[in-house]
């Protein structure tokens, strides 16, 4: 099975953002994973949106990488016309967890980023409203989704 459409997207991204893209690969059919530096996220996303019609952010997941002392932030973008899902991935250090928000670009990333902010404590620069979403109003137990937050035994 060959992945021509996927390879084409990767090729264009790599050509356009040479040096910014750390890793780009086809995972399986209709799944692309691109890893980039965090300062390039908005540019790559913008290019993906305008060039390949990646219009919807379907999910924003943060991952706590314990060994690397980093957070990985994964944006999943869906392109209705290309029928393709791209995982746009970046890493931010745990100590200064700041990332550039994609909400000005994709309104659909708004609540997902709020959630990541609330549960992991990642700051998103340029996000309009990082208010409380899921946890109780008077929650002060830290960021529950970090690995160092221990659940009851």
């Amino acid at each position: 099975m060959s992945f021509e459409a996927e390879a084409m997207i990767i090729k264009e991204i790599e050509a356009r953002f040479h040096g910014a893209v750390i890793e780009a690969k086809v995972q399986r059919k209709r799944r692309i994973a691109i890893e980039a530096g965090k300062e390039w996220m908005r540019d790559i996303a913008k290019y993906l949106k305008e060039r390949f019609d990646f219009a919807i952010v379907v999910s924003v997941s943060a991952i706590d990488l314990v060994q690397e002392r980093q957070f990985a932030i994964v944006y999943h973008l869906w392109s209705p016309s290309h029928r393709n899902l791209t995982a746009l991935r970046t890493k931010v250090p745990k100590d200064s967890a700041r990332a550039i928000s994609l909400t000005p670009l994709f309104e659909s990333a708004n609540w997902h980023e709020r959630e990541a902010h609330e549960l992991y404590g990642i700051e998103f620069d340029g996000h309009p409203d990082l208010g409380r979403l899921l946890l109780p109003e008077d929650w002060n137990g830290g960021f529950p989704f970090r690995k160092d937050f221990k659940l009851a035994e």
């Binding site: 109780p136 109003e137 008077d138 929650w139 137990g141 529950p144 937050f149 659940l151 009851a152 035994e153």
Partner: protein, 226 residues
């Protein structure tokens, strides 16, 4: 089902509004009687009244209280209200007409919907869901209660008029269930509310619901425990 809902158990939730509950706990219909014609009506009402003022009401009275006041003023030593038959009648009325308040707290809510639907039709037993909590007397806690919801459940319970009953439905409401190690789920609703009936299941089946309602009715019909 627990015969006596007065369960002294330290709860770990520390929200300011929950503190009042401790003071009110002994005034439950089943543990103590302020509405059930067994004397000491006025005293208990007054003490509840002091704590309730912050929520919703600045005064409370009930027909039984009026009867009590009337009979004391006229030197009747409240004989009328002590008649066992009158008490029995009220117990029957309460048991036969349980109006549950509409609050969905967790995943058992579709099963509650099935409960009022044609196949299980709980209106046969006089259970009629009503929109406004001021008119309701049965709080069905449907499944898990998170910390955020717990404050509301608490408030809802305080705002319901006495006598009121609580039914904990589902494993989550009883003990935390599947989410026993979650950081946001209260491990058992009886930590914040006095529960009358426990209905197990995850989610509880409508048959179990009906059984729970029947048990509650029996409990009410037996009258207050002394």
């Amino acid at each position: 089902m627990r015969r006596n809902a007065n369960r002294r158990r330290a709860y770990t939730v520390s929200h300011s509004i929950f503190q009042v509950r401790d003071l009110l706990r002994c005034f439950r219909h089943s543990s103590c009687s302020y509405i059930d014609f067994y004397g000491c009506v006025l005293k208990l009402c007054n003490s509840i009244h002091r704590h309730r003022i912050c929520f919703c009401s600045d005064h409370r009275f009930s027909v039984s209280l009026l009867l009590e006041v009337f009979s004391r003023r006229n030197g009747l030593t409240s004989r009328l209200t002590c008649l066992p038959l009158v008490g029995k009648m009220f117990d029957w009325g309460r048991a036969s007409s349980l109006w549950p308040v509409h609050i969905a707290t967790g995943c058992c809510s579709p099963e509650e919907m099935a409960l009022v639907s044609p196949r299980y039709d709980v209106e046969r037993f006089g259970v009629l869901p009503l929109p406004a909590l001021r008119q309701c007397d049965l709080l069905i806690v449907l499944g898990l209660v998170t910390h955020k919801m717990a404050k509301r459940v608490k408030l809802i319970y305080e705002q319901m008029p006495d006598p009121k009953y609580v039914m904990a439905v589902g494993a989550c409401a009883i003990s935390g269930g599947l989410f026993w190690d979650s950081y946001n789920v209260i491990k058992g609703i009886d930590r914040i509310l006095p529960v009358d009936v426990y209905v197990p299941g995850c989610p509880a089946r409508p048959e179990a619901f009906i059984q729970g309602i029947r048990l509650l009715q029996e409990k009410i019909k037996r009258g207050p425990s002394k």
